[in-house]
């Protein structure tokens, strides 16, 4: 019985992760501003915080990153590497800090977004698929980090309320 329950949880998690990658691709196509958001990153951070389990967060980060790489022209592994690291750090931070506070979430989401942009650019350069970073890239990272922070806060808050209501 416990096995079926855990399979259900894993299945639900897989659906959420696939949905986040696909939704990101579709919304970026329909609404240009959505190109600044990174739903898979928000998912990686969120599950890192909530699960507090580094191994699960690594698996989540790796798979979501590889899916992103496959649907984009990025070097296979660049987003995977970045999201893996972010998932692990988020899980470790979740065990050490109080991640239920809005200020912690703001800091974490903003820093993780910047870190993700930086890592993916560096790894893209290493794989010979990137271009030298310029001031507009930095501007885009900051904008993206701001959008991700705002969306992440809203989604985390929504999920908190939903969890409270169901428990």
């Amino acid at each position: 019985m416990a096995r079926i329950t855990s399979l259900g949880i894993v299945g639900r998690l897989a659906v959420v992760l696939v949905a986040s990658v696909i939704t990101q691709g579709i919304l970026a196509l329909k609404l240009r501003v959505f190109g600044y958001f990174d739903l898979p990153l928000i998912c990686s951070v969120y599950y890192g915080f909530v699960l507090g389990n580094p191994i699960a967060s690594i698996v989540i980060g790796s798979s979501v990153g590889l899916m992103q790489d496959s649907l984009s022209g990025a070097a296979l592994g660049s987003n995977g590497f970045s999201k893996t690291l972010i998932g692990f750090v988020a899980a470790s931070a979740g065990a050490k800090f109080n991640v239920d506070q809005a200020i912690t979430r703001v800091f974490a989401l903003f820093l993780f977004s910047i870190g993700d942009g930086l890592l993916v650019s560096i790894l893209g350069l290493m794989a010979g698929r990137g271009s030298a970073t310029n001031s507009s890239d930095v501007g885009n990272w900051l904008l993206s980090a701001t959008f991700n922070t705002l969306l992440g806060l809203a989604l985390f808050g929504y999920h908190d309320r939903w969890s409270d209501a169901t428990t």
């Binding site: 696939v18 990658v21 696909i22 939704t23 990101q24 691709g25 579709i26 970026a28 196509l29 329909k30 240009r32 190109g35 600044y36 990174d38 739903l39 898979p40 580094p54 191994i55 690594i58 698996v59 980060g61 790796s62 990153g65 590889l66 899916m67 992103q68 790489d69 496959s70 649907l71 984009s72 022209g73 990025a74 070097a75 296979l76 592994g77 660049s78 987003n79 995977g80 590497f81 893996t84 690291l85 692990f88 899980a91 470790s92 942009g117 993916v120 650019s121 790894l123 893209g124 290493m126 794989a127 010979g128 698929r129 990137g130 271009s131 507009s136 890239d137 885009n140 993206s144």
Partner: protein, 289 residues
């Protein structure tokens, strides 16, 4: 208890190391091109892109129902049969308008197809790059339709990019505005050759031209065919702005606006069997007896 925590911590670090080594290995294999990793991408693409296509179609369906029904529910309360009929007519009219717009787009594409010798395939754009690092889109045609890496992709207005990855039923198209993209072009009237490179924004930068002194806003560039990806003579874009060179710079800064509306791609044409328009010496090709 502290031993259990230490063990779980250690296994976390080991898992992290393994995951990072695998990802780094993937990146370095691609960088060195020692092993073909395209099957990994093709496999994931073939698994995810159908769902993306399904969601895209659902979006269109929902948008259609929303535009043509739900938005009008408020009016229906007061409406008699006549208004319902009017509503029905409006729905039909909207649908016909949409059909007409699509018809015009496809006619444009067909007329463009007629001008291109070689085999072409019309594909639908089903997704955009889920990261911001690359300007790419996903199309619903792949190897089974003849679309393969380096197939040129265009609209009725001009070229929009080239295929960089293909799975059986889907492909990833690198748009010409991507910072990694470069297109061999020539100015339509003077035939001066140059390279147009994506600047990561919405425009292209003109590079590697012999002489840019008489280039001005509005000058049109077409493909030169020398890059062996895009057939010769297809429209690429027109000069949007010319900034005079400063200091030690050799050339003016010339920004070219793509002729295709790259921000609103819906259907595209893939050139799957390009014509041999340019005779370029290729030492790897066997010579005719």
């Amino acid at each position: 208890m502290s031993r259990i925590i230490a063990t779980s911590k250690r296994s976390g670090y080991i898992a992290l190391a393994i995951a990072l080594v695998i990802q780094t290995g993937l990146i370095s294999i691609q960088a060195s091109r020692r092993i073909d990793t395209s099957f990994v991408r093709a496999w994931i693409l073939d698994s995810l892109a159908p769902m993306e296509k399904l969601v895209d179609r659902s979006f269109l369906g929902v948008a259609y129902v929303w535009d043509n029904y739900f938005v009008l529910i408020g009016l229906h309360k007061e409406n008699d049969q006549l208004k319902a009929q009017l509503n029905d007519l409006r729905m039909k009219y909207d649908r016909q308008e949409e059909d007409l717009a699509e018809d015009q787009r496809l006619r444009g594409m067909l007329s463009m197809r007629d001008t291109i010798t070689g085999r072409t395939v019309v594909a639908r754009v089903v997704g955009r790059d889920p990261t911001r690092s690359n300007a790419t889109v996903t199309i619903d045609k792949g190897l089974s339709h003849g679309v393969k890496p380096d197939s040129a992709v265009m609209t009725a207005d001009g070229i929009v990019g080239r295929v960089i990855h293909s799975s059986n039923f889907f492909s990833i198209v690198q748009l010409i505005i991507d910072a990694q993209s470069a297109v061999g072009v020539m100015e339509r009237s003077t035939r001066k050759q140059a390279i147009l490179r994506g600047n990561g924004g919405h425009d292209l930068d003109l590079e590697y031209t012999d002489d840019d002194t008489d280039m001005k806003e509005g000058d049109v560039f077409v493909t030169s065919g020398l890059d062996r990806i895009y057939p010769k003579g297809l429209p690429v874009g027109a000069i949007g702005s010319v900034r005079p060179r400063k200091g030690a710079a050799l050339f003016n800064t010339i920004v070219v606006r793509p002729s295709g509306d790259i921000g609103r791609l819906e259907e595209v044409i893939c050139i799957v069997d390009p014509p041999e328009t340019v005779d370029v010496f290729d030492p790897t090709r066997p010579t005719a007896p």
